[in-house]
């Protein structure tokens, strides 16, 4: 019996080890452990074993069954693992992926949103005003004399009713102060219009971002701190910023801001206008509001504005401003 069992064990283990797929392994299982399998048949012989030998023989048979079962399980695991490996071996990860590609946001939108997020970090809220403006909001209230060249029909689009397409988003400053008492701390992204012939550097409609902060004791130091922070947030801590005295009718003192940063090509670039709100603007607001909450003796403020197109062009080295409005997918997909 012992010899029989040993022979059977080595024969079974050899066959199981040589099984090369699930079918041959199953055949081996049936051959030894199946209803009419060899191990099962040997176990049948227990009946003829004398009673006193049964414990020994029983253990022998159990060990045999256990060894075969373990060998079967091991082989099954080996075959599965081999099959798993084989499955990956045929997987060609260099084939092009096929998930649908996402769309894009327009470069001006992306830039505007970056700017908005940065000003929100500094506690600015967004304000809004119409593109179709009155002369009063666009010019008069902003201390622009009646015969100022910007007001002329060569340069500004008018409607037959005397209203106009705002030539700058500064009109939103007026809209905000007209309806909201100080303190105000706002930015206003939006379109502005100039009656320019469209070419590689000019559009009749362009995008600006306006800002205004009016409260008690707002100073030029606040203006400087705010815009320096903004431009360094936008272009990096190493950005050089220069304020150059300039003239705008609605701020005094007025400055233009020049920026030099690697992100914009490493050259000085005139980027924004800013200044302390001119007392004449506050007086115009007071007169319109019928109160003195914007009395220039009580409040002061700063305002700034910049165009987004030229900035976007420099950031991405866009050679022609018209590319921003042609909406060629080959262009848009790059952003």
């Amino acid at each position: 019996m012992q010899q029989q069992a040993d022979a059977l064990r080595s024969e079974a283990l050899e066959l199981i080890a040589s099984a090369h797929d699930a079918a041959s392994l199953e055949a081996a299982r049936l051959k030894y452990l199946g209803k009419s399998g060899a191990v099962t048949a040997l176990s049948e012989g227990m009946r003829h074993v004398p009673k006193e030998e049964r414990p020994v023989i029983g253990k022998l048979l159990n060990d045999l069954r256990a060894a075969v079962t373990t060998a079967l399980e091991d082989s099954q695991k080996r075959l599965l693992e081999a099959a798993d490996l084989a499955a990956f071996a045929s997987l060609d990860l260099t084939l092009p992926g096929i998930f649908p590609s996402p769309g894009t946001l327009h470069p001006l939108t992306q830039l505007m949103d970056r700017a908005v997020r940065c000003f929100r970090r500094m506690g600015f809220a967004i304000a809004d005003g119409p593109d179709i403006e009155t002369e009063w909001h666009c010019f008069d209230a902003l201390n622009t004399p009646p015969d100022h060249p910007a007001r002329n029909e060569q340069d500004t689009f008018y409607l037959p009713d005397g209203r106009l397409l705002r030539s700058h988003t500064s009109s939103v400053q007026v809209r905000v102060m007209e309806t909201t008492p100080p303190p105000v701390r706002i930015i206003a992204p939006g379109s502005a219009y100039r009656r320019d012939e469209v070419d590689a550097t000019h559009l009749a409609q362009f995008t600006q971002m306006e800002g205004l902060y009016v409260a008690e004791k707002v100073s030029l130091a606040d203006l400087k701190g705010t815009l320096e922070f903004f431009f360094r947030e936008l272009f990096g801590a190493g950005t050089d910023i220069q304020f150059r005295p300039h003239f705008f009718p609605f701020t005094e003192p007025s400055y233009e801001i020049d920026i030099r940063t690697e992100a914009l090509g490493g050259e000085w670039m005139e980027l924004a206008g800013c200044g302390m709100v001119d007392p004449a603007v506050f007086e115009a607001i007071c007169e319109r509001r019928g109160d003195r909450v914007y009395d220039p003796e009580k409040v002061s403020g700063f305002a700034f504005g910049f165009g987004l197109e030229r900035l976007a062009m420099n950031l991405s080295r866009i050679p022609d401003i018209r590319m921003l409005v042609e909406n060629d997918l080959r262009f848009l997909k790059q952003f």
């Binding site: 946001l105 300039h246 042609e326």
Partner: protein, 781 residues
């Protein structure tokens, strides 16, 4: 405006390089737009006189000249130009000279004849961008004079002057600014001022448009060419020499900023007056053109009519010519608005009108006149009348108070009183009263300083903004409705980009044809062209143009959106529009069926975007062009937009061979109808049970009716309805061609228990019965 650095040095001894000067002027607020190097600083080029000229023996186009270059022996030069005559003085490049462009001159033979140098054109010496023939020098030029002495090296600054600073429109004004920022002394010309005589009875001025008018008579002048120094100065700032008298008036204009005009006294009849032009009055200006004057234009007139357009241009008939012997020199102040109005109306602009428009210094009127007299006597001889005739008055100097505390507050820097006062003194203001509040007298050339704020600006400018500390602080700011609108639109943009749409930005200005489909539009009064004459009343035309452009570029699949403003006579709104056409997927190695985007792709997209239910998309019975078929979109019962397919005509027009799909939303309506979910739905604890029903219905029966009918039954256990198969058979083989087969999966569920097969079947049967009875559909069983 052009400023010559050599000229500036007449008034301020500033030895800065052009680039350093540029930096300094920028600090002052004076933008240098360009730096131009002029003159001919070339060695071995001299003036030569052409002594004789003969035909070249071997070349028709060449001549052989003998020239005097100042040396004892004449030189032989072969020349190709034709524009000279014997006796002319021309530039001659001697052997050894190196002309611009590294062109080396040596002795050589031209077609067999020796040439000892080259006679030059202005272009070859880089004195002009383009020129024809030899540069003919003035006749008085001495042969042998080095050309670099005739055309000395000059650096010209092109300045951009802001409209508030008329004082910068002259060399003296710019020199003063250099003085402010360098501390160098400024020497203004100090001509001898004549005693004044009232011009009462001789010159009349009106109450408006002119408040100060002076005339001075100079007799016995000899009008002729200007001396070289004067011609050079004018050439440096881009002016052509006319004659010595006119050149002096132009010189003084560029020197002091005061426009002057010289009349030929012999051509003035009777007395002069400054007056408004009467209706229909005409005037022939110095430019030789006849102008019909707008009524009210300010003119200088004699007894016969206008002799000058005040502050703009003199008259042809009364100008100084070679035959003039006596002149009347005008120096006056004309009001900016009066000059601007006339100048604009006639489209006539001059150096004079440019300065009057911005305002000239009334204190400079008499000085400029005296300076011009001094120079005219120097270059044209003659005798000036002892006195200057003056009508009107020079206004008193302005006086402005300044609170020093206010300076510190507005600039955000703790300046001392001394620092503030020294800054103002440097710009030429005179302190009248001391203390914490000072009072200042403003010189005429800075009369735009009228308010405290103007003085504070000067303090900041002189001190330099770099001294001001940067302060980083501010109050909290509550978000506004505009913030909410911005975020709402930005979220839509991001969602659409995530879904594969590309954001476009198109122009607000469209053509009347483009606006015509979408209701009333707002038109511009002064459009730049017909294709930009209206404000868009829909985003669709702009997007269609973008689509067309991409089709033309060969794009296979186009999915664009735009978020932007639209306009109608009632006001402005914000819209979102989407256009879609072309292939749904790029073909790939995976295979799979390729198809075009169709309207269900877009209705699916907008449903996801706006979280709409199937029943929120309600077909419009009578679609309006450009839509061929469309449906209104409802969010919580409020209409927020429209979706559909454009007519084949539009598609053909654009060149699209695939369906053209489009949606447009009103963002304000959308935002108003949208609300945030405040409670999540309970998660189901018990299994649901599905029943599929399939039926044959008339081809024309919309799925929406099936849906509405099932909804109307309000089956309490019905959780969801899903159309999972739709079949039509145009050939009528499997089902009749006028029918369609629909298969719907109904899911039933109770939140409290597991449903029994019996109750699920009963509910499904009720639904089937209703469909059969109400919609006449046939169940295939």
């Amino acid at each position: 405006m052009k400023i010559s650095i050599n000229w500036l040095r007449d008034y301020v001894d500033c030895q800065l390089l052009a680039s350093e000067l540029e930096t300094l002027l920028r600090r002052a607020g004076l933008e240098v737009a360009g730096i131009d190097q002029r003159g001919a600083a070339i060695d071995n080029v001299v003036a030569a006189e052409i002594l004789e000229s003969t035909q070249h023996p071997n070349a028709d186009r060449l001549s052989v000249c003998k020239v005097n270059d100042g040396s004892p022996e004449p030189r032989q030069i072969v020349c190709g130009a034709k524009n000279y005559k014997v006796g002319d003085k021309v530039p001659l490049a001697l052997p050894g000279a190196v002309l611009p462009g590294d062109f080396k001159i040596k002795t050589g033979k031209l077609r067999g004849v020796e040439s000892e140098g080259m006679m030059c054109s202005a272009k070859e010496l880089r004195l002009a961008e383009d020129s024809e023939g030899l540069l003919i020098l003035p006749p008085e030029t001495a042969p042998g004079t080095p050309i670099k002495d005739l055309f000395p090296a000059e650096t010209i600054l092109e300045l951009e002057i802001t409209p508030n600073r008329s004082d910068w429109l002259s060399h003296l004004g710019v020199a003063r600014e250099i003085g402010v920022f360098t501390g160098l002394p400024v020497k203004a010309p100090e001509p001898e001022l004549p005693p004044t005589a009232s011009a009462e009875g001789q010159v009349r001025i009106p109450g408006e448009g002119c408040h100060l008018y002076t005339l001075r008579r100079i007799s016995g002048v000899k009008v002729g060419p200007s001396p070289q120094w004067l011609r050079d100065r004018l050439a440096a700032v881009g002016l052509r020499s006319v004659n010595n008298v006119v050149d002096v008036t132009n010189y003084v204009l560029f020197e002091l900023g005061q426009p002057l005009h010289a009349f030929d006294a012999a051509k003035i009849s009777g007395s002069l007056q400054v007056r408004a032009a009467s209706e229909g009055e005409a005037f022939r200006a110095l430019d030789g053109r006849e102008y019909k004057l707008p009524t009210g234009s300010l003119v200088i007139a004699d007894d016969n009519g206008p002799v000058a357009l005040a502050g703009v241009m003199g008259g042809e008939g009364s100008g100084v010519t070679e035959s003039t012997t006596d002149i009347l020199l005008e120096s006056a102040v004309f009001d900016p608005s009066s000059v601007r109005r006339v100048s604009r109306a006639l489209g006539l602009f001059s150096d004079s009108s440019y300065r009057f428009e911005r305002g000239v210094d009334p204190e400079g009127v008499a000085i400029a006149s005296a300076r011009a007299v001094e120079l005219i006597l120097q270059v044209a001889g003659g005798t000036a009348e002892q006195t200057i005739l003056v009508t009107g008055k020079c206004p008193e100097r302005g006086k402005v108070s300044l609170r020093h505390a206010h300076v510190r507050d507005l600039l955000g820097i703790a300046l001392t009183n001394a620092e503030i006062e020294s800054a103002l003194a440097r710009v030429g203001l005179e302190k009248l009263a001391a203390g914490d509040e000072t009072r200042w007298s403003i010189p005429g050339y800075r009369r735009e300083l009228r308010r405290e704020a103007d003085l504070i600006e000067e303090v900041a400018r002189v001190m330099g903004i770099e001294k001001i500390p940067s302060r980083a602080q501010g109050p909290f700011a509550a978000s506004s409705d505009a913030d909410a609108a911005y975020d709402f639109a930005m979220n839509l943009r991001r969602s659409l980009a995530g879904m594969g749409f590309h954001e476009a930005r198109t122009s607000t200005l469209v053509s009347a044809a483009d606006a015509s489909h979408f209701g009333e539009a707002v038109a511009l009064k002064n459009p730049f062209g017909e294709d930009q004459s209206q404000l868009r009343n829909s985003l669709v035309p702009g997007l269609l143009a973008a689509l067309r452009r991409n089709l033309d570029q060969g794009a296979k699949s186009i999915a664009l959106f735009e978020c932007g403003r639209v306009f109608d006579p009632g006001g402005e709104g914000q819209r979102l529009a989407i256009v879609l056409t072309g292939e749904r997927h790029e073909s790939s190695w995976r295979g799979g069926t390729e198809r075009s985007w169709d309207v269900f792709d877009l209705t699916g997209a907008v449903r996801q975007l706006a979280s709409l239910h199937e029943q929120d998309i309600v077909p419009t019975l009578a679609p309006v062009a450009p839509f061929g078929a469309c449906a209104d979109l409802f969010l919580h019962g409020k209409k927020i937009g429209v979706v559909g397919q454009l007519t084949p005509a539009v598609a053909r027009d654009i060149g699209a061979s695939t369906p053209l799909l489009c949606a447009e939303f009103d963002i304000a309506l959308w935002r108003a109808a949208a609300f945030t979910k405040t409670q999540v739905a309970t998660l189901a604890k018990f299994p649901g049970s599905a029943r599929d029903i399939a039926f044959v219905a008339p081809l024309a029966l919309p799925y929406g009716e099936v849906r509405s009918l099932i909804d109307s039954l309000k089956e309490p256990l019905l959780e969801s309805i899903r159309l999972f198969d739709l079949f039509t058979d145009p050939k009528g083989e499997k089902i009749p061609s006028d029918k369609k087969s629909m298969a719907i999966s109904l899911t039933f569920r109770s939140p409290e228990r597991t449903l029994t097969a019996v109750e699920v079947q009963a509910a499904a049967d009720r639904i089937k019965l209703a469909l059969r009875e109400k919609l006449s559909v046939d169940f295939r069983e």
